[in-house]
């Protein structure tokens, strides 16, 4: 995994032109790190990820990836640039087999058959359960297995930046633990990961850097150590999320 730095500067987003949902949000995610975004419901956490991926257009601001401005690229172009997104809602194609779902993940390099074969073999090595179920229809697998398939499909392109939106929502605790371990492992291998999670405890545990959003604005930011040692930050998280971050 070869991650690159992704940064958002002064990003504002509005639905239907006038309902502003993000106001001058700034964020910086570095390679080899998990950047966590936390905040109460309606803070705009998922909107940040959708904006980075290009599913929502910006009113103001710039998004750069490895120093390159990607603000005006469409979603599919950002995917070609190496951004992968695992949305909160189910995104596995239920009527396609596991193999076909992974094959579709290879769309950016669909003409390179050798690369497709290598990429899917690599995924099967990392996720033996998917190899076992390669011919199974995605829709007939458990929620946890589908989530692994969605993450695996996001990894098949060896992305530079991985966006994870509530990856453990509605997932059994044991599988959730595996997903967090995988997230940490991917970052340790060099990937740039931006994680949105309602589970503040887990998000804080595996994130290197945290951003707190409130009502579509940056409220606070810092490394995990900052949140654990800075009394004001620690108090803020404790008050909002009923959780104290420790180093």
């Amino acid at each position: 995994m070869h991650g690159v730095e992704l940064s958002m500067e002064n990003i504002s987003v509005a639905y239907n032109g006038d309902i502003t949902v993000l106001k001058e949000v700034a964020l910086r995610a570095k390679p080899g790190e998990v950047t966590g975004i936390i905040g109460p419901n309606g803070a705009g956490k998922s909107t940040v990820l959708k904006t980075i991926f290009g599913l929502l257009s910006t009113k103001t601001g710039t998004i750069t990836m490895g120093g390159r401005d990607i603000t005006n690229l469409k979603a599919f172009q950002r995917a070609l640039e190496g951004v992968s997104f695992v949305p909160q809602n189910r995104s596995a194609f239920a009527g396609l087999s596991v193999y076909d779902n992974l094959l579709l993940g290879c769309w950016p390099f669909r003409k390179d058959k050798a690369r497709i074969e290598r990429a899917i073999d690599g995924i099967f090595e990392r996720f033996p359960i998917l190899k076992e179920k390669r011919s199974t229809l995605a829709g007939s697998m458990s929620g946890g297995q589908q989530r692994f398939l969605e993450i695996a499909r996001a990894l098949v392109t060896e992305p530079k930046v991985i966006l994870l939106d509530e990856p453990t929502a509605m997932i059994a605790p044991k599988i959730s633990k595996d997903i967090y371990a995988l997230t940490r492992d991917l970052a340790d291998q060099g990937a740039t990961i931006i994680l949105v999670d309602q589970n503040v405890r887990q998000c804080a545990t595996i994130s290197d850097r945290l951003y707190i959003l409130e009502l579509g604005r940056n409220k606070a930011e810092g490394t995990r150590e900052d949140f654990a040692t800075d009394g004001q930050l620690k108090e803020m998280v404790a008050e909002w999320m009923n959780y104290k971050i420790d180093v």
Partner: protein, 293 residues
């Protein structure tokens, strides 16, 4: 009695596969784009006129005109997507908006065909030798057999495309989860435009087939084909590309066997009775999945 029934069944399969082709192209467009293409029948009639003029001006036989019509209609569909269909997404209710827009397009196309080609019914100058084949007491016009063969080849090619190629799988993936397709890097607009082009290309080919099999065509019959297309896809399952094949054959069998014993009007009526029965018993159609979206 048994021979008549057999004749009706054979006719039903032949005509049913043509109906299936109407439904398949309509279903691909609806499944991928959620566009209720009420102008589909007019595009079918335009395909028939295309073959007629390709024969009159270029001397092309209807069979040779098929690839040409497919390409021309495909390009027209690709362009029309950006001019007309893409804008529907901005509507608060794209499906209903598409129904109205396409109904308007159907009226416009019907009127334009009337202006350009006049109201006279026309037919293709296409015969085969021998004109009939006899299987026992069953009579089969060779043009119908040829139409059947072409319909099988076209449907087979479409099934191969949808189920065996990556772009085809991407197209089916849009039907399953439109929001997720962009995540894998697919250019949704490009693929949607290709789909509309594919749907119109197939409509063009279907137009040639129906003009080979049925005695004549005119600017007025487009809405009949649209109606048949919708019956077929509701029977087979709305948005299910291959479900339309089953729907088409079922409708064709019901219509043609009824035509052997009763009048054409009764046969059409039976088709609608079948449609109502399927809606009552299995509202999602034979292959549809209830509440899949």
């Amino acid at each position: 009695m048994n021979e008549l029934l057999l004749q009706g069944l054979v006719n039903g399969i032949v005509v049913g596969l043509i109906y299936a082709l109407i439904g398949v192209s309509l279903n691909v467009i609806f499944g991928v784009l959620r566009v209720v293409n009420f102008a589909h029948g007019e595009f079918i009639v335009l395909g028939a006129y295309g073959a007629y003029f390709a024969q009159a001006w270029l001397g092309l036989s209807p069979l040779l005109a098929m690839p040409l019509i497919f390409i021309v209609f495909g390009m027209m569909g690709y362009g029309l997507y950006f001019v007309l269909v893409k804008r529907l997404a901005r509507s608060n209710d794209p499906e209903h908006a598409s129904l109205l827009v396409m109904f308007g397009l159907s009226l416009v196309l019907g009127a334009l065909m009337l202006l350009a080609f006049e109201a006279d019914a026309r037919s293709l100058n296409f015969t085969l030798d021998p004109p009939f084949l006899m299987f026992g007491n069953i009579i089969l016009p060779t043009t119908k057999l040829l139409g059947l063969a072409v319909a099988v080849v076209v449907t087979g090619a479409l099934a191969f495309f949808l189920y065996r190629t990556l772009p085809g799988k991407a197209l089916r993936a849009i039907i399953m989860n439109r929001d997720a397709i962009q995540i894998v890097g697919v250019d949704l607009n490009h693929l949607s435009a290709l789909t509309f082009g594919l749907g119109l290309g197939l409509a063009g080919i279907t137009g040639i087939l129906v003009s080979m099999i049925f005695p004549s065509f005119s600017p007025f019959i487009g809405q009949d084909y649209t109606l048949i297309g919708f019956i077929v896809i509701v029977l087979g399952g709305l948005g299910h590309p291959i479900g339309a094949v089953a729907g088409g054959i079922l409708f064709g069998l019901a219509e043609q066997t009824a035509m052997v014993f009763f009048s054409g009007t009764v046969a059409m009526l039976l088709g609608f009775v079948l449609l109502i029965a399927v809606i009552l018993i299995r509202p999602a159609g034979l292959f549809g999945v209830q509440n899949s979206r």
